[in-house]
Symmetry: C2
Subunit: 366 residues, 2 copies
């Protein structure tokens, strides 16, 4: 048994957690920049809560609300400039994965005069500003990971960076903030959280601690399957899904992801498919591909969800995602080649060749 455990983010979970623990922000300095996508931060009530505790704690702030879905390196560059001009001492990300990931990049760029592409070198002369992360979706887990996933047009995909210094210092997880999301977003992001837990659980970098966290995350997803199917969510579902998402983040902080994420990015980059849904297309085939190499674990995770086998899992996830867009042979070859270049592909429990990925893409659209 050899492993490392490191999860330095202080996480507050529960309704009202921002207001109740707002004094946590007082230690970070007298000027904040809030990084958001502009919509969910406002609709969820999170932005109001944050502004209120900042004011209460006499912290000045500016708002950078230009983060798009799947943020580009240009956007985070602009955010970094805004943070520097404002003299921000810390960064508060509010939103889904995109604003949270952008906030991490802004925290680095605010104090390091580098081009955004240098982010991926993961070496920063100056320690990033402290990051506070407040999710409004239950899927990314980014509030408890060091990872920032940005879209790189130069290599036509999404790529992550992250160091121990880009773990958020504090995360506030209030399940009510996820209520304003459309049901479609709740479903897609839940699939994302599930894929973090499953890929982490089965991946090569799985650790004893990450395994028990992942199984709990998978169990919680299982307990919400009926609600996900009916697209009606109780407060309990909201809390369970947000907690499952946090567990998924804690898991991938230790394990990274594998080929579901790597291959899924292509559906997002080239076809505009939301990230979680893109992962959903691939998950059953991913389990079939790995079954011979992780039979016991796959049986266990299916049992934990109350499922009898991969086929039942497949039917359920398909009922959530619908059929994937049809890919040409050329597209399949290109997507497989791009996925092979992702670092995370090497973490898959079964060694992966480009031909394997092509098969997975092909089987998915049968």
């Amino acid at each position: 048994m050899q492993f490392k455990f490191h999860m330095p983010t202080k996480a507050y979970f529960g309704e009202g957690c921002v207001i109740q623990n707002g004094s946590e922000l007082a230690g970070f300095g007298d000027k904040a920049i809030i990084v958001t996508g502009g919509k969910s931060a406002r609709a969820s009530g999170a932005l109001d809560d944050v502004c209120s505790v900042l004011t209460q704690n006499h912290i000045d702030f500016t708002i950078f609300d230009k983060v798009e879905n799947n943020p580009s390196t240009n956007t985070v560059k602009e955010g970094g400039n805004a943070a520097r001009q404002a003299g921000a001492r810390f960064v508060i990300g509010i939103g889904g994965g995109s604003p949270l990931d952008a906030a991490k990049a802004v925290a680095v760029l605010a104090v390091n005069d580098i081009e955004p592409l240098q982010l991926f070198e993961n070496k920063f002369a100056n320690k990033p500003l402290p990051i506070v992360a407040i999710p409004t979706t239950a899927g990314t887990g980014s509030e408890v990971t060091p990872y920032s996933i940005l879209t790189r047009n130069d290599i036509k995909t999404k790529v992550s960076f992250g160091t121990p210094d880009t773990f958020p210092a504090v995360a506030f997880l209030d399940p009510r903030y996820t209520e304003s999301q459309p049901a479609e977003v709740t479903v897609n992001t839940a699939i994302d959280a599930l894929s973090h837990n499953i890929e982490g659980y089965l991946g090569k970098r799985s650790t004893p601690v990450s395994e028990i966290l992942a199984l709990e995350g998978i169990r919680l997803f299982g307990s919400c399957m009926e609600s996900l199917h009916s697209r009606k969510f109780s407060s309990q579902d909201r809390a369970d899904l947000l907690y499952a998402s946090m567990l998924g983040g804690m898991v991938i902080s230790h394990t990274g992801t594998t080929i579901v994420h790597g291959a899924g990015y292509n559906y997002t980059y080239f076809k505009g498919v939301p990230h979680g849904k893109a992962n959903g297309y691939l998950m059953a085939e991913y389990l079939r591909f790995n079954y011979g190499h992780a039979r016991e674990k796959i049986d266990r995770l299916l049992a934990v969800m109350g499922l009898t086998g991969i086929d039942e899992f497949d039917t359920f996830i398909l009922s959530l995602t619908g059929k994937p867009p049809r890919l040409s042979d050329e597209e399949i070859a290109e997507y497989a080649a791009i996925t092979m270049k992702q670092r995370s592909t090497a973490s898959n429990i079964r060694t992966v060749q480009a031909a394997d990925l092509e098969n997975i893409y092909r089987n998915v659209q049968r």
Copy 2:
């Protein structure tokens, strides 16, 4: 669902983890003080490994090896002075719970000119020195908790202090370091780890994350029951027990302990009984006392250990600890009164009166 998760210690687990990750120490400064009890640190090989990586990383060091079992406030005062005189920039604790807890107090006193009794006020003008913790027993979990438990002769018991700043920055858990301990110590410390996991699991401050960590720790103890009984330990047992101990530490960092610890301290303070064994005397009665208030959880933790009921648990633990020393009625009344003053008594799932504690002490010696 309302909870906080905070576990900032970076933990490396596995054989050879000090040597493999010694460069972690380089960031803390050029002068260390090693705090130990003098025996287990040397016998285990841990001190050699630490000196070797310190030398490799050009870090000067002094050794303070005067920590006794259940360290007194006087000892940590002396350690604090030694650290200050040496100009130590960080503190490395090596040993069982006593040296690790003393190391935390030394880290505070080295940079705060206060009397040891002021430690318990938990407010320090200057941030404690960074702490590195290396356990040589599998029980305390102190390597991943902020707690330092010291013996206070003024109120005749052991009391803890700790703030988020007394979490070790880094912990190295090498199961081989526990091999040089007498079997008796392995058994007693394993019971301590079990009591952390069980008290945390059942206590009022239990959280969703601490529950799953605790159940895993309890399961691991269960998997070592035969070895504990025969007092023969494989490498796998050593690793499992050290991991269970680490999980117990992560658990009580969130939940604190309850009446097993509070009541057990009296056997240690007044009768010289080792800490884990003292807890062992009380655990079955503790489960009986709480059964009506936590039936489902107690059934579950027994099942996880492969046991059918509290009686079977009782018989097993008794086979490890032997009978407790007989207490007079006066002693029972005094011990109960002291336990009532422990803060942790309020965290017990069932409200506790002095008469309840007296009953528990009485039932234990039937």
